[in-house]
Symmetry: C2
Subunit: 303 residues, 2 copies
């Protein structure tokens, strides 16, 4: 039997009282996502199916910052970004600042598979979801008490805008199927109290999502702007391709060497087509879980 | 005296009767953009100023597909993308699907320099332009007769959506200033008859724009979806960084080797911090011009 494997993350960043108090719920959510994706792979599903299913589960879980439970922007609105990439075909789909779509990752996949485009934003993306009967939800579905409290605290914070550590968060998954194909997916509700229209790394192919069978699949998290300007996900895959090193070495090089001086949080989960994981982050915590073949799920929040 | 240099492009793609008939106007527009950017550099302006000024000139010129003269989407609307990156600070700004902003590249720079974000889309980006008194224009300012004719022809074309060669186009610039800093900027009106909300490579850091003093500045053009999934601009810069090769070798590797099998058009202009240019494209034409120190401008459309 060939290797099958999946890893998920629920965001990298600063530690918080909320996370410490809700460790059980976070770990349960991560394990459920891994097991769901793994079950897809075990039943012969593709890596693409597995990452989509795992991310959908976290999008539906209000404890994570994606879809239901999304961070609120400065206007108190939910604007969601997501992306997915198929390492076998080197094709991708992405959406940004979408509203009311229950599962942005599924819309990203729909765009990848049914249009000649990769990336569709805003009302155009919502129209595609409506015309093709993807599940929609009312605004209130996405908004949780925790995110409202977070926004209120952010608004009271008078730290200089540039220096302020915003609460962010992301979910993502990487998977390997029994045909030897890999895929990655990432989804986010963005950053609390950000400007309306702000797009982070989660929908940017090369920044928060990348997959190529010949190197690896990567899902990123952390301070989105840093992942964009440093093109984190592609750096890992391309470093691995050019240096012919392991996926863990590529992750460590990009996070701990090339970008060791960045002021902010970066974290990644990665997986190659042999089933080797790469996990690196420079932050206080990264919510993560992974499973290969019939091993027990490993789940961690801190070191 | 240290080297100063600038290159601009006005898009890579298939040849067309319109381009053949308007070679003089295209070449004049490219030369004017190079000379304007060069004058900025000569007067001690930064590479960032030079690329912004050169791109603004092409945005204002209705013959190019950016700002005035933008391609029209399937609804007959103008939605513009742009980005800018400072190779000295490794900071970037980008906007997507903006309307009514006379110079999207200037809005991208404003976001880079005045917000904690990199990338802002749609109405949020327009709000920033309005609140900060950036120049706005009415819808009709952006729409030219040529682009209306193009959309009508596209709508009559019953070629399968995936196979159809859409008319696209971009403008971009890379520059080196006398402080030894490099920068890149890219701007586009998108693709004729595309879906509303479609985002191309021109606003994606890593795809259609990238700059890092330690490697090179790159502005890309061609089929946006291919530049996104193959992370073209970052591939060139990172290959140069890891292989310690020339910028021309890096461009040739990425366009003619790594991506030799892609079905579509890709073109790039690049420049390193010593003043070496890299120019590669796989298409029938790429509108381009460049100038270093007091040399005469070189301007080309075909090989």
């Amino acid at each position: 039997m060939k290797n099958i494997a999946i890893a998920v993350h629920g965001g990298a960043g600063q530690d918080s009282e909320f996370i410490r108090m809700n460790q059980i719920a976070y770990k349960a959510g991560l394990v459920k996502a891994v097991n769901t994706g793994y079950e897809t792979l075990k039943q012969g599903g593709s890596a693409l199916d597995a990452v989509e299913n795992a991310v959908r589960l976290m999008e539906d879980n209000p404890i994570f910052n994606s879809a239901r439970g999304s961070a609120l922007n400065a206007k108190g609105e939910v604007e969601m970004d997501a992306s997915i990439m198929d390492g076998s075909k080197h094709s991708a789909g992405a959406v940004s600042i979408v509203r009311n779509v229950k599962n942005p990752v599924t819309l990203a996949r729909f765009i990848m598979e049914n249009t000649s485009h990769v990336f569709i934003s805003g009302y155009g993306a919502l129209e595609i979801a409506k015309e093709n009967n993807l599940e929609l939800e009312v605004d209130s579905y996405f908004i949780t008490e925790h995110r409202v409290d977070e926004l209120i605290k952010e608004r009271m914070d008078d730290t200089d805008d540039i220096k302020r550590k915003r609460k962010n968060g992301t979910v993502g998954a990487v998977a390997l199927d029994n045909a030897g194909n890999i895929a990655a997916a990432t989804s986010t509700g963005g950053t609390s109290n950000c400007l309306s229209g702000r797009i982070g790394d989660s929908c940017i192919i090369g920044a928060g999502c990348f997959a190529n069978n010949s190197s690896c699949a990567v899902s990123g998290t952390g301070d989105g702007e840093l992942l964009i300007t440093n093109v984190i996900a592609h750096s890992i895959a391309f470093y691995m391709e050019l240096k012919n090193c392991s996926v863990q070495e590529a992750c460590d090089y990009v996070i701990h060497q090339r970008n060791k001086d960045v002021e902010g949080d970066i974290g990644v989960i990665a997986l190659d087509a042999m089933g080797n994981f790469g996990i690196s982050y420079n932050s206080q915590r990264m919510l993560r879980a992974w499973k290969m073949n019939e091993e027990i799920v490993t789940v961690k929040i801190y070191k």
